[in-house]
């Protein structure tokens, strides 16, 4: 196709072509994701047959399990049937517990999502004001302090911070719950609707349980959130600086608009959209930290589920969990990309 022809195509067709190109590339990425998880599952050092049987068994049993797992087939056929199963939502069974992986993921995934959401909230509540303060006091001591505070969150090993925080807030102050999502007393009191404990308890008006759940999530959530403060505050700062340097701010200032009003009603208002996409982008990074923080706090989420699968060489669990994380990550990237394009006037 020559350039000339392309220019003459109707605009609508071009859009469609762009869209289908995008769709194809997402599809290709998805298949690649599957290939990567499949490879990872096959690379795991242990014999998946032994993971099922628990120990060596006689030859007949071994072969039966071996064939049940489809390990005898050629590798490309195994991959093809893997894709086929994934398309129907069948992630197989955990080799050790025998439970369907998809069902397990339905219980552990909301736990991680809830944790990451709280973390995102905490990160925003700390990061945005910090970035604004830094921008307003640009170059001053307070700017440097804000930067150090933010970067420290990105530099201190999260598991270490978690341990220290548990020591202070649980052991010494008794402000928060120690491990798990809720107290044992409240276990099973509130039937799950969304799987998000805070939301479920609030929806059903179980405020005691809500408080309990909050006391369990606040510490890991805050620590995980602190991790994202660096990024959020840094971006807030540069967005703010950009706004504060704009003509309209300078003229508003000249007209005698108060400093506070200028910052909040004018500058901040204009960066909200950009901030939203930045915050959405941090979400994926939080999944990473969740793997570590879940271990420290005994949080029954995706991270623990994955590490347990790795330790027990539970192929299906590892493949399922990694795939889910990959898909979530990919989705967030696509959405925030889209969000940015739609909302940011400069890229439209």
């Amino acid at each position: 196709m020559t350039t000339y022809e392309a220019f003459n195509r109707p605009q609508r067709f071009l859009r469609l072509r762009q869209f289908s190109g995008k769709a194809v590339s997402i599809l290709v990425t998805l298949v690649g994701l599957l290939l990567l998880t499949f490879t990872m599952g096959r690379l795991l050092p242990a014999d998946p047959v032994l993971a099922v049987t628990g120990s060596e068994v006689d030859k007949a049993t071994y072969e039966r399990v071996y064939n049940e797992l489809g390990l005898g087939e050629p590798i490309w056929r195994q991959f093809a049937s893997y894709i086929g199963r994934m398309l129907t939502g069948d992630m197989g069974q955990s080799l050790t517990t025998g439970r369907p992986v998809a069902q397990d993921l339905l219980t552990v995934f909301p736990a991680t999502i809830e944790l990451a959401l709280v973390a995102m909230l905490c990160g925003t509540l700390i990061g945005v004001p910090l970035g604004i303060v830094a921008a307003v006091n640009r170059g001053k001591l307070i700017d440097h302090i804000a930067r150090i505070v933010g970067l420290a969150g990105h530099s201190i090993p999260i598991f270490w911070l978690g341990l220290m925080a548990l020591f202070v807030f649980y052991a010494k102050l008794r402000w928060v719950g120690a491990s798990g999502r809720i107290d044992i007393l409240n276990e099973g009191l509130v039937p799950p609707i969304t799987g998000l404990m805070l939301l479920d308890t609030a929806l059903q008006g179980e405020w005691d349980v809500f408080r309990d759940a909050l006391s369990h999530i606040i510490l890991p959530g805050a620590i995980l959130g602190y991790y994202s403060v660096a990024y959020i505050s840094r971006m807030t700062r540069s967005f703010m600086l950009e706004q504060l340097g704009q003509e309209y701010i300078i003229s508003a200032r000249a007209k005698g608009v108060s400093r506070r009003q200028m910052i909040w009603s004018h500058a901040f208002k204009n960066i909200r959209v950009q901030l939203l996409t930045v915050i959405a982008l941090t979400f994926g990074g939080l999944l990473d930290g969740a793997v570590l923080i879940e271990t420290v706090f005994g949080w029954p989420g995706l991270g623990q589920y994955l590490t347990r699968g790795l330790k027990m060489n539970d192929m299906n669990v590892v493949m399922g969990a990694v795939l889910l994380i990959g898909i979530v990550f990919l989705t967030i990237n696509i959405i925030s990309d889209k969000l940015y394009r739609i909302l940011d006037p400069r890229t439209r």
Partner: protein, 527 residues
Amino acid sequence: MRYRLLAGLAAVALITGAGGAFAASPPNALVIGTNLGAIPALDPAAINARTVSEVVSNLYDNLVMVNPDDLTTIRPMLAEKWTISDDKRTITMTLRKDATFASGNPVTAEDAAWTIQRVIKMGAVGSTDIALWGFTKDNVDSLVTATDPQTLVIKLPEPVSTDLVLYSLAGASLGIIDKKTALANEKNGDLAQNWLKSNSAGSGPFKLTQWRPNDILLTDARADYWGGAPAMKRVVMRHVPESGNMRLQLDAGDIDVGQYMASGDIEALEAKGATIDPGPGLGFYYIAMNTQDPDLAKPKVREAFQHILDWKPLAATTMKYNGFPWQSIIPKGMAGAPTTEPTGHEYDPEKAKKLLAEAGYPNGLKKTLYPSSDALLKMAVALQDSARKAGVEFEIVPGEHTPDFRARKFQVLVGNSGTRLPDPFGTLVQYAYNPDNRDEAKLGGYYLWRTALEAPELLKLVDESKAETDPEKRKAIFQQVDKGYQALPPSLIITLQRTDPYVIKKGVTGYVGHPTWSTRWFDVKKN
């Protein structure tokens, strides 16, 4: 806006702060902090580990039982009484009439027979003990039968001490399963293997309410239990992988019993008044050497290895609660066990060097060292340092290496063992028994096979002890095996006998760690 943010933060602080009134664990519920990551599945026939044995022992009843403080007396459980034929080849058990499964179905001899047949037919790890008596897939259906709903007849395929058979029936893997319920959930003739992995169908005092791997395992008491309703209405096992976290929760009273805790944390809690159940076990900590490795095949090298681990400081510090010095394969206090602390494996780098030189390694040697699991890493690191001084360089490869050990794919490994047969036979068959040394035999249940060492005399003696019923004669055989084992020199060097400490909160009584891991919650009380 800024003030709104601040107000929001303050509100969060207030709410969580007000939530600070944390009730200790409730008076009629027992909360056990443990590592649930160690539980793969709940099918009795497919388990052989500690925590899961404890769970299964409370969900399922056995035909007979032994108490943790008196391992030699076999007590009735589902079997009210039993008789042994004159030729000692048939055990006839009479089952109690009042026992029911959680489903409401009565416990019958048919269920018991099916359970035993199932364990043998599945051939998974749970069958290790009972398969020793000669039961196979082909003969078990005719040997284990229910003649009427209350009568179970077990015929023995070969002469075996009936005590040993009864001991094996007391193990967690032989918890009696509700046949009807299980078969209702069977798929493609899998003997309900898949369903029982995460469901329970037992007649025990507790029933499984919820199990979320890596999170929580909830059991509720059965008010209609034939032995009466247990004092604890609910027993919760909570996944607390961090020992420090567990310590804080025990200290705060949120957890009643702590398992898998580090020695420093146990020490601190002990000082604060918690009860420490030492949890004596019937296993050992060992250094295993694969004799398929040409260097380790040399007896002199194995002898040298007896002196490369500085275990004394280890036993006094990190492993203070995990074991005590013991160097015989007969657990302390059992028939034939030494009456004084056996010696011979003292740390002596000079002696080790000398022995290595005699074996042809004047410059020492290099081997890879596997810990059997993460829990053994500390011992491996200690061994690495003390062995270095004796001229043995170890490269440690962390990870879960039990499967490698079972498949003979290792050079040197540190691990720990346990047995659910409360009899010296249980440990001897692990350590001194290798009926077929070929790789194809795949006898991963026997440690001597795992290390590829043949010991025909010991094999004969252990076999002999199987059928022997005279206490004095048994004792003599055991002692002979122990002596013969030490003279091999063995491919598994024992330094400590294993203990698994349980930290019990003040005011909790009746929780007694069982040496064969069948710890029962029935008698637990709180005040």
